[in-house]
């Protein structure tokens, strides 16, 4: 019984186009991870069907990465053929002694080798094997190689975006600014004679603070850890500013185990101290709060300083590096990268009214572990 039929989807030519596009979309996700043995293995079947050849190989610049189809014994030769094509820098059709074998029934007689080019650099080849050479095959192999190159370029873009993010975190760690180091050591020095015990304590706090900030492993930490580091930071700042710096804390203990991106609250507190104290000798008041909001945890850092023009904050969040709040844009970008766009920073401010930065962190997100 044939009760159900596919709805009519245009002419045969239309359907062929759809099939081709669908094949391409199946191969794309693996290629977007870059050119590796694993990604080649997963995409090569789709590429071979796309080309309609009996056998297909993917190589890097030296050796084969994957083979699909018949005549697997040609795999060893693929590396040598790749080097041939790379020398020329364009698609080559090879036949004769370099390809032919003496096994009966092996359909491989001709190889069409197209280089894969990412940012003007050849990173590998796509090799289509067929019983005989046709102009159509050479053209098709060339086009598919061009498309694969495009996907690899996108992979490169993804990778460089990740590298940029990592570099920014490193910058943020390194940014534990020379000023802060200098000022802290100066403040500690002033206690060495008058209050050696306190000087010693502060020095230990300083050591712990730097150890946390320079730690190498892990993108995430718990809110408790982050708060502990902030505590050390504030102790050191208070050693310098004394009663001018007032801090209020309101932290719901339920949210302390929440996993947050490493150094995502600390830069906000640093900003708050800078803004809250300002240039004059007035008293700065900073409030750090963490609330439990069911599935989410909400962290607020507030100062009663001079405030900021909302337009400048918008530009800082958009990543304008000409402004001094590098931390703000970086924290925002990392929160969005980890939890999705709805978890960006929210900044409430206006000139003369202080600044309040609110960050929301989900208690659970796939792949996020402290």
């Amino acid at each position: 019984m044939r009760g159900w039929r596919r709805p009519h989807l245009g002419t045969e030519a239309d359907r062929a186009t759809f099939r081709t596009l669908h094949r391409a979309s199946l191969a794309a996700p693996a290629l977007r991870e870059g050119l590796t043995a694993a990604s080649s293995e997963r995409s090569i079947r789709h590429l071979r069907i796309l080309l309609g050849t009996p056998a297909l190989a993917l190589t890097d610049t030296e050796q084969p990465l994957a083979w699909d189809g018949e005549g697997r014994h040609h795999l060893e030769g693929a590396g040598g053929l790749a080097r041939l094509a790379i020398e020329r820098g364009q698609t080559r059709v090879v036949s004769g002694a370099e390809v032919t074998c003496h096994e009966g029934g092996c359909p491989v007689r001709v190889a069409v080798i197209s280089p894969l080019v990412v940012e003007d650099l050849i990173v590998g080849t796509l090799q289509a094997y067929a019983p005989r050479s046709t102009a159509g095959l050479a053209r098709a192999a060339d086009e598919v190689a061009g498309w694969v190159s495009g996907q690899l370029a996108l992979a490169e873009l993804d990778a460089s975006r990740t590298r940029l993010m990592e570099a920014e975190v490193r910058a943020l760690r390194a940014q534990i600014s020379p000023h802060f180091v200098y000022n802290s050591l100066g403040a500690i020095a002033s206690f060495v004679r008058t209050d050696p015990d306190r000087a010693r304590e502060l020095l230990l706090e300083f050591a712990d603070f730097t150890r946390y900030s320079f730690r190498r492993h892990g993108d995430y930490t718990t809110l408790a850890e982050e708060l502990r580091s902030i505590e050390r930071y504030l102790l050191l700042e208070q050693a310098r500013f004394g009663d001018r710096l007032r801090v209020t804390l309101r932290v719901a203990p339920e949210v302390l185990p929440v996993a947050v991106p490493f150094l995502c609250v600390q830069p906000l507190v640093e900003n708050a101290v800078q803004h809250g104290l300002g240039a004059d000798d007035g008293v700065g008041h900073i409030t750090i709060a963490a609330h439990d909001r069911g599935q989410d945890c909400v962290i607020e850092v507030e100062d009663d300083g001079a405030g900021e023009d909302p337009e400048r904050v918008r530009r800082a969040l958009a990543g304008d590096s000409s402004l001094d709040s590098v931390g703000l844009g970086n924290v925002d970008a990392r929160l969005r990268a980890a939890f999705g766009d709805e978890y960006g920073l929210v900044v409430e401010t206006a000139p003369g009214t202080g600044t309040k930065v609110v960050l929301r962190v989900p208690k659970f997100a796939p792949g996020v572990q402290a």
Partner: protein, 512 residues
């Protein structure tokens, strides 16, 4: 309302007002830097355990157990034993790995372990179903309490509890304030312990009499037997009850979210251990009420309000009224804490998977509005059901919620944590099988409870009334067999994930 019921009324109003006030304004503790250490200290096991016990001890524990034991005899003591022993299973098999998984809710765990949105959605659906099934008896219990203590009409209790929960949860407080829930436990314990001590003294003063009707030979003998009457069916019912309660605890949505508050797996285990002690101490008391009720001839027709009636029955005058007031306060605290915990859990899931995605004229609802809408839905459905349906017996309805949890989340958690072979299709199939099986039992119970005569008798009735003994193995088998059949669908990260679940935090390993 008359003058006699004044202490009860005052107690109810006090508990309700305190809940709303604490919930709305929160505990606004401000600290300066010198107290930083105090402020960033995580919740300790003792505090967290009190909070879990406070949220867990519901109307069923407070009122239902005593009524059941009075009516049906000592075999009903399996309910409190199972409700406590469920934490033993939780302690041994689930507590620490679940905490280490980083999951906040049960759907979170399914997603993290199986990497499947489908499994997550199935779990969300079940959380809502179990939550509603558990909320229903809370509201009905509130009706019973106010009817017994204040002679109020039956609808007053559900509506007031619903309103208080709606206000305190909806306005953003009471989310999971550990301290508040911890205090609730001690309030409930006091509210049972003080009256029962007085009543025991009265009983000793009366010369410690035996049950009314005197003969241990006649009714007393079977009353105190630990197995239900009815031969094979009785034995089956008892075992089924044991399976449901032992394995159902780990699947209760409002219990699981509390484990997230523990800083690590070790703390989660310690917390569970303390919970065992706290619940053990509490559950000694309801059977004592039942026994005293038998001695002083309380009417089994009003079984669910036995705990409230007994003080008046044994101590006439003002003393009895005051004790009733205290017990009423405890019962009311029980409804409020469990209902708010459940409402938060259900509303959280509804927000995440429903209202936050809803579009109003193409616009997303703001977060706060989405949550409030979810709270209203979470309270309204069981409230309407509680008003529409007649009384099912508080403990019986809760028992069904346990049966559903045991048939669905228990296999998911146990296999998910201890068996690398579990796949998403297998898990979903098991959840559906166990869910449908136990849901059939729930539907049958509702029909049976509302129709005048018995719908079915004999083994059919027994199997449908206590489904756990067949639905739990069925669900386990489905999960294992289907997972084996879909071996290729094993999530790639399974090994790594299991390593993380089972390695103590102090150990340095690559957790990926």
């Amino acid at each position: 309302m008359n003058l006699e019921s004044l202490p009860g009324a005052v107690a109810v109003v006090l508990v309700a007002v305190a809940t709303v006030v604490i919930g709305t304004w929160g505990l606004r503790l401000s600290r300066t830097t010198s107290d930083f250490l105090v402020a960033s200290r995580t919740v300790g096991p003792a505090m967290n355990a009190s909070a879990i016990a406070g949220e867990y001890l519901s109307a069923a524990s407070f009122l239902g157990v005593a009524g059941l034991v009075l009516t049906f005899g000592a075999d009903m003591a399996w309910y409190p034993i199972g409700w406590t022993a469920g934490y033993l299973v939780l302690l041994v098999l689930v507590a620490a790995p679940l905490r280490r998984s980083g999951a906040y809710t049960l759907p979170d765990f399914a997603e993290a372990r199986l990497g499947s949105r489908g499994a997550r959605s199935a779990c969300s659906l079940l959380v809502v179903a179990i939550g509603w099934l558990y909320l229903l008896p809370q509201f009905q219990g509130a009706g019973i309490t106010l009817a017994a203590a204040l002679d109020a009409p039956r609808w007053v209790g559900p509506v007031t509890v619903g309103a208080v929960v709606l206000v305190s949860v909806g306005t953003g407080g009471m989310r999971s304030i550990t301290l508040v829930q911890a205090v609730q436990y001690w309030l409930k314990l006091t509210a049972l312990l003080v009256p029962v001590s007085v009543l025991l003294v009265v009983w000793l003063g009366d010369g410690s009499p035996g049950p009314v009707g005197g003969g241990d030979a006649a009714g007393g003998g079977s009353w105190s037997l630990p197995l239900a009457e009815g031969g094979g069916q009785g034995l089956y019912s008892t075992y089924s009850l044991i399976v449901a309660t032992f394995l159902g605890t780990m699947g209760l949505p409002h219990v699981v979210v509390r484990f997230y508050t523990n800083p690590d797996g070790r703390a989660a285990r310690r917390t569970t251990l303390v919970v065992l002690g706290l619940l053990g101490a509490f559950y000694v008391l309801p059977p004592v009420y039942a026994a005293l009720g038998r001695v002083y001839g309380a009417a089994p027709a009003r079984a669910d309000s036995l705990v409230l009636d007994l003080p008046r029955l044994m101590v006439p005058g003002l003393g009895g009224e005051l004790l009733t007031g205290l017990v009423t306060a405890g019962a009311y605290a029980a409804f409020l804490s469990t209902s708010s915990g459940l409402t938060v859990a259900v509303a959280g899931v509804l927000t995440q998977d429903l209202t936050a995605r809803a579009r109003l004229g193409g616009l997303r609802l703001p977060d706060a509005a989405a949550f409030r809408l979810a709270v209203v839905v979470a309270v309204a459905v069981p409230l309407a059901t509680a008003l529409a349906l007649p009384d099912l017996g508080v403990a019986r309805a809760v028992g069904l919620a346990f049966a559903v949890a045991a048939s669905t989340f228990c296999p998911l958690l146990v296999l998910g944590i201890w068996w690398p072979g579990l796949t998403a299709p297998g898990a979903v199939a098991g959840l559906v099988t166990g869910g449908l099986g136990s849901a059939a039992a729930v539907a049958w119970t509702l029909v049976d409870g509302t129709s005048p005569g018995p719908v079915a008798t004999g083994w059919t009735a027994t199997l449908l009334g206590q489904p756990a003994a067949w639905s739990v193995p069925l669900s386990f088998a489905t999960m294992v067999l289907l997972s084996l059949a879909t071996r290729s669908r094993r999530p790639a990260h399974t090994r790594r994930f299991l390593v993380r679940l089972h390695t103590p935090e102090a150990l340095e390993v690559d957790r990926g």
